[in-house]
Subunit: 356 residues, 2 copies
DNA sequence: ACTGGCACTCACCGTAATGGAGTGCCAGGT
DNA sequence: ACCTGGCACTCCATTACGGTGAGTGCCAGT
């Protein structure tokens, strides 16, 4: 069935009101607030249709309506225009990001900024190693049988690993090795290095063969295969805002009534999920292009996050994408504002990175 | 007034029971569980005295007793023996920490381990730069007017900063500079470098003067003065455990009755405090010696954390202390077990660090 | 100095009554 | 064909109320 324009208007109005008040919205209040030019009874009929189609639901008979995940989805896809940021917000973003001194610093500031602006949980993935290029590889002697390998990527990320050597090595040899690996690996995408590392290893002459084996192992094992990703998080306190998530916590007596479909999430599993880097990476680290993606409620693959929505986008210098960032909040979030903010922050961060 | 032995026994019993059940404990239940060889009435008299002295309080008339912060303090100082860890726990610690590949890795594993073992919020300070020695300084050319300065400390921590040069510099000069700063700064404690950096700067000959100025500025400004500290956090989900903290969240209607002294904390301000690195550093970064320190309730300098207790200790390779770690939880935590775990983890981490 | 006994207090729990917001549906109007 | 006003109905939320029981404080007795 096709929904006519007024029904869509009603849906939009309900979403907006519900997001603002976080209380089920009834027909009467609706016509008052939004100047729909029809009577409550008419709206009720529309509501009934919208409910039948799965865009709305009633917490219980004789309560107002609440959007379903499907309702939010329609709202996001077709009913909302992305709110432009206020000048104050733009200024806040700029002020926050200039003066960053460090990649760490950039990421930290970004994630806090995002949490503050959206008043939600913010997540920023560090520039992904997989998508970065090798800028420089440094070898530092720790002892005669130990080297510290330091890799610097073009996004400014630094990664270090200890290399245990099978036999002692002297200074000139270290320099030779360093020279070699930089010549052969410098400028490559990290994913491209695998083949090169193996090539170097096979070609190498006798004396450096031993050290190179150790080095190659470390390089392959950790920097390529198990591409270590990192994540920064902020604003978890915002999970306690606005009572949508009721905090059943770990209390005792509670009417353990059968809430089958209830969206009554606890804060608990969410906090747990947020500490699982694997989960965060799946959510925020998959931004292949710089498209903004919105996952609403149970569109989410993770059980524990089915009461939340996730807004993500990719970021990076210029048009490239080196990582993802975004926010996580209750399904009843202000999507237009959130999407706008996430995008704006991503763009600014991209600019900052481009300047390095 | 002096408390006789039995009164202390009663206090201990109450603390133990309350920690276990998290419900006010009454006289009858007490004598049953612990085989005190006196009657409930006697215990009641003791309780009355303990309450008068401020070690106990009653949530309301005709409820059982609950320890006050002062009561916990006495318990921790005089009544508890630190529980030895179970073999299983020891094994868990070892298994968790071997295989760490990285300083980042060590810290991450440690903080998760600590959260898991204590079932509380765990905090680990990265090895403090202020207390570390310079192992190596690396200069990497990014462009002719930009250098990346990478500092590696003896605790394995790596810090990088971008240096903007006033004029182009060539390869040999970079090598010379690198040589110079390593010769002069290598092995020094970071706090000792200030003077050296300035000395180098003043002595340097004409050609490298310009670059050295820029380099010195960066070194002084960020690595010495604003000694950047970092913090890792885990187990925030544990804040929702055991209903001691009732989650009033941000709800509307609530009996805004005068709970004056009530320990009824919200989870909210705690989460906020945990995101303030300044606060965490004050709490966990002040372990001057490897002494274990326990801050109970309002002994805590931070308003928002007055419903929590903090157990901290220093850690580092050998006898030195390079950072702090510990846990934060409700005042009604199992102090003996927590203290034991925190200490044990700190010791193991020290050993791991010593092996680098 | 300890104990048993006893009256008293108060949170907790289940039930009942009341109020009100909101719905669904129908009959009448445009 | 669509919209509207009216009306009966449903069900949550809030308040009120009495019973129950754990726990206390105190006192008199050992």
């Amino acid at each position: 069935m096709e929904l006519d324009d007024r029904k869509l208007d009603v849906l939009r109005a309900i979403v907006e009101d519900y997001v603002a008040t976080q209380e089920p919205v009834g027909s009467k209040a609706l016509v008052e607030r939004h100047h729909l030019r029809v009577s409550p009874a008419t709206v009720r009929n529309d509501m009934a249709v919208l409910e039948e189609e799965g865009y709305l639901r009633q917490p219980h008979t004789s309560a107002g309506r609440v959007p379903t995940d499907k309702g939010y989805r329609l709202f996001v896809d077709r009913l909302s225009r992305i709110k432009p940021l206020s000048p104050a917000e733009r200024r806040a973003i700029e002020r926050f990001l200039i003066g960053a001194v460090n990649l760490d610093d950039v990421v930290h500031r970004t994630v806090r900024l995002l949490a503050q602006l959206t008043r939600q949980v913010a997540v920023v993935q560090y520039p992904s190693l997989a998508r970065s290029r090798v800028r420089h590889l440094e070898l530092v002697s720790i002892s005669t049988t130990r080297l510290m390998l330091v890799m610097i990527t073009d996004a400014g990320r630094v990664e270090q690993r200890l290399v245990e050597l099978p036999a002692p090595i002297d200074g000139p040899e270290v320099i030779e090795l360093r020279q070699l690996i930089n010549d052969r690996l410098g400028g490559l995408l990290l994913v491209e290095t695998t083949a090169q590392v193996q090539a170097i290893h096979e070609q190498i002459r006798g004396e450096l063969r031993g050290p190179m084996t150790a080095l190659a192992t470390v390089l392959l094992e950790t920097l390529v295969e198990r591409t270590e990703e990192r994540i920064a998080l902020a604003g978890t306190a915002n999970l306690t805002r606005g009572g949508l998530l009721d905090f059943a916590g770990g209390e005792r007596g509670h009417h353990a009534g059968g809430d089958q479909r209830g969206v009554s999430g606890t804060i608990r599993p969410i906090l747990e999920a947020l500490e699982e880097e694997v989960i965060l990476l799946k959510l925020f680290g998959q931004a292949e292009q710089s498209l903004t993606r919105v996952r609403i409620g149970d569109e989410n693959e993770f059980e524990d996050l089915r009461a939340t929505s996730v807004v993500t986008t990719g970021y990076g210098p210029g048009k490239t994408v080196v990582g993802g960032l975004g926010v996580l909040g209750p399904t009843r979030m202000d999507y237009p504002a959130t999407i706008a903010t996430v995008r704006a922050v991503a763009r600014y961060v991209g600019e900052v990175l481009a300047q390095n």
